[in-house]
Symmetry: C2
Subunit: 453 residues, 2 copies
């Protein structure tokens, strides 16, 4: 029973409602859309990710025997409900914005069209997957923008929120333009490039720092990146220089050093000098330790001679904005558009499409959200990706998604590429046809006879 | 190949160092301790959680055939390394602070004593598990403190960082005193009480709100908690009142209503009045929607007639402090105490014990951190929990852990129970014996001959 594929990764009310839907024959086609209501203050755009995992979840959706047994024994449902669940598969259609696409609030990035019970049950896990990867891809994209040409590596597993968060964060960061991750399982399961050096404990386990460096270089000759801040960074850099000729005589090249603490700007300069004067001009300097996109920007702007950054906690927890206001809302049921009108949480009804318009320089100018079929020019962002429970085509390669992301980030208006909140946010227009539909829905709900009373 | 138990849920450098340890015979006993370096500004204490998952991971540690195959084919390691890994099990000892114990910075909550390769490999996942559950248990405890007597339920799955985060957050919140969770898998896998009501989509799927209520009540007669904010909250409350006699005639009791938006303080009063006047005085009011401990405190302090709260995103992401400065550091190797001296990141060396002292009222007065064996009174917090890779005794029941948590929160000094940062933090003393050891380690490292040169 694999937790990550389990339909019990859902909220109890989904099952309760499923039972009520079965009991009352509420089984017509429902349309739900997943979107983000508003941007965190610290963000100017979002980068879509997580679709691949969402589709995998839908495609394999079924209740395993132990799960059905739990449902039966829980005492929460009448007899017979488990039999309904045993038959349940996802048979619906999905439209989505491809991974690696920049998007904005109120723009649906995933639309599920399926019999009500199926569409309802999957809500919790679909948001869970798409929300998290989008959150991290968005955070990662900010780092990619401020540190062009630098080798960026995800170091966040230990403070990620669980193992799945660790590998999904690695994937999301890679999509956004990171070079790879330190998380081995993201390499073994997803083919993401894996990077690694050494830890302080390796140095401390030796009585002598230079001996630790030599042991490491001899054992791992293809990847000699030495961690030099355990005791005294500059002294350690000199030890590396002293050791290099011995290693070179055995055919081992010192590829680089890593700084993990202290004043990274100052240390990178002094270490660079020590390496250059010690005939290690080709050895790179890699920095880590409480980094985020703000610190990277400042280090890059200050001209610190750092070739790459390892970014951990801030990336995988998206620490300055650890969630998005992502929701999955019913927009149509049994052919009729619907909307929620709760205070402060009203939604736009119906099946929607987002069309993007570009300026003369090929950058994003503005988007228009309208009802499907009303597109008035521009590039439609939502495309069909699943029909009757089966994907349309093979999963996109990570390479293709990375390429899309890079293209998208290059087309962002300059003001949105800043780390700080843009004075004028990106323009997302609601088309007249959509406003009209919303008014119609509101009027109809006021008038509707109480059919079921 | 279960991701959650996989030894590849680790950083690449752990494997690289393992290889170097094997190659150079660095296999003597290492002692690592897991602790938090400092509190987030928004926290006055932490509540330990995650030990159960950490011990489960250690007890079952092994490389599956597909994992060994990946290691062999990755091209990152010399031939023969996978054979070493195939033999690897965790054979060490673990000491830990029991789950549900309050603790403070610089206090080890987990100590691993094992051959170096084993102790090193598990670093990433041990931090990953203990950090996250401790993070959420700590956040949850703050809510428990400010909302005594209220039914608190975790609603966070959809914005948790993955499925594992969802169920571990449910467990951590339950440990801290929450009544349960909406996450079904946390119920089916861990026996945590599961709660649920209905969603807006259920109401919207009906043409008429009252019909939706009736359908729900008829299908789920044991748990009639109706969501009344889809359109107009007070109007919906009146519909509930109107419907109640019909339901009562069929033996169905309206257990309560849920508010999910709007001015919860004002609405809870008006809805309470409507229910009371409508002969539904026993129906409870449950509130949700962007809640956290600050909003709960204000609602409780303002006398809002709310019986329970559903808390989601803020809880499971610990949104105001989405990580702790948790680390796992080598403190002893081959019988010699060690420490890291990196700028701003120096650690206290050696195997340590934490002793807690109480004031006359039975509340926590201060803690003393010293070297193991130097305890000078007080209650020692670290106890042995695993020997030679096997647990000492059965896993603690969640009930026992919850009871401990409740006792611990009751013994917190009043100033630390406030949501805001306490003017004077809790006192954690470093014993003279530990300071002396740190000095000895520093001197010895300055003097040590370069044994390996």
């Amino acid at each position: 029973m694999n937790l990550l594929a389990s339909p019990l990764v859902t909220d109890l009310y989904q099952l309760t409602m499923l039972h009520a839907y079965f009991a009352h024959g509420v089984g017509e086609t429902a349309v739900f859309e997943l979107f983000v209501r508003k941007l965190p203050r610290e963000r100017n755009f979002m980068l879509a990710a997580g679709l691949e995992q969402a589709l995998g979840f839908l495609e394999h959706l079924h209740f395993a025997p132990e799960e059905l047994e739990w449902v039966e024994k829980s005492g929460k449902f009448p007899r017979g409900f488990a039999e309904h669940l045993a038959q349940l598969r996802f048979t619906g259609d999905v439209h989505a914005v491809p991974e690696g696409t920049v998007f904005f609030p109120d723009e649906p990035i995933l639309r599920v069209t399926a019999p009500m019970p199926e569409a309802q049950l999957v809500e919790s896990r679909l948001i869970n997957l798409v929300h998290f990867e989008t959150l991290v891809a968005t955070k990662a994209a900010r780092g990619v923008i401020v540190a062009p040409g630098k080798l960026l590596v995800d170091f966040g597993l230990r403070r990620a929120h669980g193992a799945e968060a660790g590998i999904l964060a690695a994937r999301a960061a890679y999509i956004a333009g990171y070079a790879g991750t330190a998380t081995v399982a993201a390499g073994s399961r997803m083919g993401i490039p894996v990077f690694g050096t050494m830890a302080h404990s390796f140095v401390e386990a030796h009585d002598d720092e230079a001996a630790a460096f030599r042991h490491f270089a001899e054992a791992c000759p293809q990847n000699v990146v030495l961690l030099i801040d355990t005791y005294d960074t500059e002294a350690a850099a000199r030890k590396v220089v002293a050791l290099a000729p011995l290693l070179a005589s055995r055919g081992i090249r010192v590829k680089g050093v890593r700084l993990d603490s202290g004043d990274l700007a100052a240390l990178s300069h002094s270490v660079r000098r020590i390496l250059d004067e010690g005939a290690l001009a080709e050895a790179t300097i890699f920095a880590s330790g409480n980094l985020d996109e703000y610190r990277m920007r400042d280090l890059v702007a200050g001209g610190a001679p750092i070739d790459g950054f390892g970014v951990g906690t801030s990336l995988v927890t998206s620490s300055d904005a650890p969630y998005l206001d992502a929701v999955y809302k019913l927009q149509e049921y049994a052919g009729k558009a619907r909307r929620k009108r709760s205070t402060g949480k009203a939604t736009w009804p119906g099946r929607k499409q987002v069309c993007r318009h570009y300026d003369g320089a090929g950058r994003f100018a503005h988007d228009v959200v309208s009802v499907e079929g009303d597109e008035q020019g521009g590039e439609p962002l939502l495309v069909p990706v699943m029909r009757k429970g089966r994907r349309l085509g093979a999963p996109e390669s990570l390479a293709a998604i990375r390429e899309r992301s890079a293209g998208q980030l290059a087309k962002l208006p300059e003001r949105l590429r800043a780390l700080e909140s843009a004075a004028s946010p990106y323009r997302v227009e609601i088309a007249p046809a959509l406003r009209k539909l919303a008014n119609q829905v509101d009027r109809a709900e006021g008038e509707v006879p109480a059919l079921f009373r």
